[in-house]
Amino acid sequence: MKFLRLLVKNLTRNKRRSILTISSIAVSLFLVATLETLMTELKNPPETPDSALRLICRHKVSLFNALPKAHEDKIRAIEGVEAVSGQLWFGGVYKDPANFFANFTVVVDEFFKVYPDLQLTDAEKEEFLADRTGAIVGNALADRFGWKRGDIITLQGTLWPVDAELKIRGIYSGGSDLGTSLYLHWDYLNELMNDFGMVGTISVRARSADDVPRVAAAIDEIFRNSSSPTKTETEKAFVLSFVSMLGDVQLLITSIVSVVTFAIILVAANTMAMSIRERVREIGVLKALGFRARQVMFLLVGEALMLSLTGALLGAFAARLLYSSINMAAITAGFIQRFYVTPGTLLLCAGIGLMTGLISSAVPAWQASRLPVVDALRRVV
């Protein structure tokens, strides 16, 4: 395609300008890709087919209020409930508060039935169930601190006035926390706290997706008039409520993305106008040779598109490459577990690139193509 060759030739004429333009667009779109991915991850917590069947039941007033463990029995009796496991945030510190990670006490009897997506060997499961001072840790967490099965670690109590000395009985992978947490026995804490019998939340596994809404409503109904009324929601909704607490952060990120996009277009338009202005004579020659106004315009717009699309795709794919090779969970201590640049985000970046190319070159290209040949040739640049 001769047209394409001409286009590429024109771009390589001033290599430095082309490279700089592509670079600045690429960098800006790298930022856009990163921010978009952050938003997407915040709005879409990791899910597994098992997590879709899980409900989290907490005290209606707020997450801070405890529920009596006795609630478990009433929940178990509801039609459609397969397994129930109470949990209580332990919040222990391992050596230094900066080493923060999530650690929970769990009622172990049906724990693995509620969380079958935690993958570990049957031997590990049995050992954990049998040892009240045992703990299971996620593989990402184990890697972070170099823990192995059989290690004994101490968690200092901050929330609870007791320290926990635990033996690591198993290392799990998978789960909706992607291997970044630690679980210990609720019985262990309960005994140290003189049988206080309280849990923070109760995790419930429903028999099927259809049962989920009905079970949630049933649980809340049973406890509506009790001294500890509940609010039950799917695990996904529960996780999202934490994100919504961050409030205006989403607004902030969206605003930055829009503003950055606007800035890119501006800068690209500037470059485009500059280069077209310099090539007025050359455009005159093209027209004198017989190129039509419309063809000249397409040529100029085509060059702009090629530059901006290349820059956009470069930036987007650089983001994808970078984030697939670093461990976000380790860097953010489990706050962000997964940082995957989705095809949707890549498409968005390509779209912005396209739009930038079109908008930035439209006016200058149109004007240049309409210039009478004589005036163009006469112009001293």
């Binding site: 600045s24 790298f30 930022l31 007033v61 997450l63 929330l159 409030g247 800068v267 500037n270 953010t332």
Partner: protein, 384 residues
Amino acid sequence: MIPIKYNYRSILIRRMGTAMTAIGIGITVAIVVVMLAMIHGLDMTFVESGDNLHLVVIREGSLNEVNSYFERPAYDAIRFLEGIRRDSEDEPMVVGELTIGLNVIRKSGSESNVIIRGTAPMGIALRPGFKLLEGKMFQDGLREVLVTRSISERFQGMALGDTLIVYDQPFKIVGLFEVPDGVYDSEIWCGYNDLAQVSTRPIFSSLLLLAETEEVARNLIDRIEDDERIQLNAFTQKAYFAEQTTSSIGLKALAVFVAVVMGIGSCFAIMNMMYGSVMARQQEVATLRALGFRRGSILLSFLLESGLMGLIGGVAGCAIGLLFNGYSAGTSNLSSFSEVVFNFKVTPEIILQGLAFSLLMGLIGGFLPARRASSVKLIDVLRQ
């Protein structure tokens, strides 16, 4: 030295190009300034919440009032300690409070937790910034509450006269208050007895007391912490809140990331612009050289020009950033998981940082083109 007139005339001639590049830089600076203002506002909310004379006492091992609980005997043990200031009626200025997180909905529809604090008239006296804005003070026993104005504006069902449901019991909002520029400005206050009764938790989350001098405060902290029977920790109010600035860590990281990436992008943009400018002015530069100006002066001159361009953008960006000064927003205090409302604060320091950043971008971006300009070969250019 080439007169600066040359630079700003050149900028004026290439008005459009300069303007567009400056706007691009301006946007980068505006974003950075706004983010810095947000972080500063958030941090200041914690820093300004306390001083060194007020002490916050919570359970040993707890990091926040909300997670702490202890019983009456501890309160009694502390109440009559020496060094606690007495008020005009010779009462020790100590108050025992109960703080609970209440799950509520913002006007925007998203969920959050707001702290409801059961306190006593002494608690009001211990907060010198307290101001009742509208309505009247709550009466313990009548299930009345006060709500801060910022909370009332951000959350559903929290206007003066509305009824708040706390543990399934109706509480009437009888007044709006403020305790400016602090964490207390995002709370709901009511009588201790009312809250203890409906939550069936006759315990204390924290004590707040006023010491007579800073040295006395330090002694009191030691006294309280050494007492084995009560197992409590004491902090100056200042230290207690300073601990909670961890909420802005994520935002700080994001701000640095955005600033660096956009800075790099802007450098490329300036470089592009300046190269174009330099290439077009080769004859001018050659003329200048022929006139006797040295390479160094030319380099400096172009550097100055790109720096100037950066600064123009920086000024525009800071002006835009200033528009956000005082803007009110709310997020989660990651230590207590409850709402903290704060205002964006653009300080002179932040403006200076923004300007310095823009100047830096101008200089870095303009360096290579300036070098190119100064290394122009006289003969080749004059011959063209």
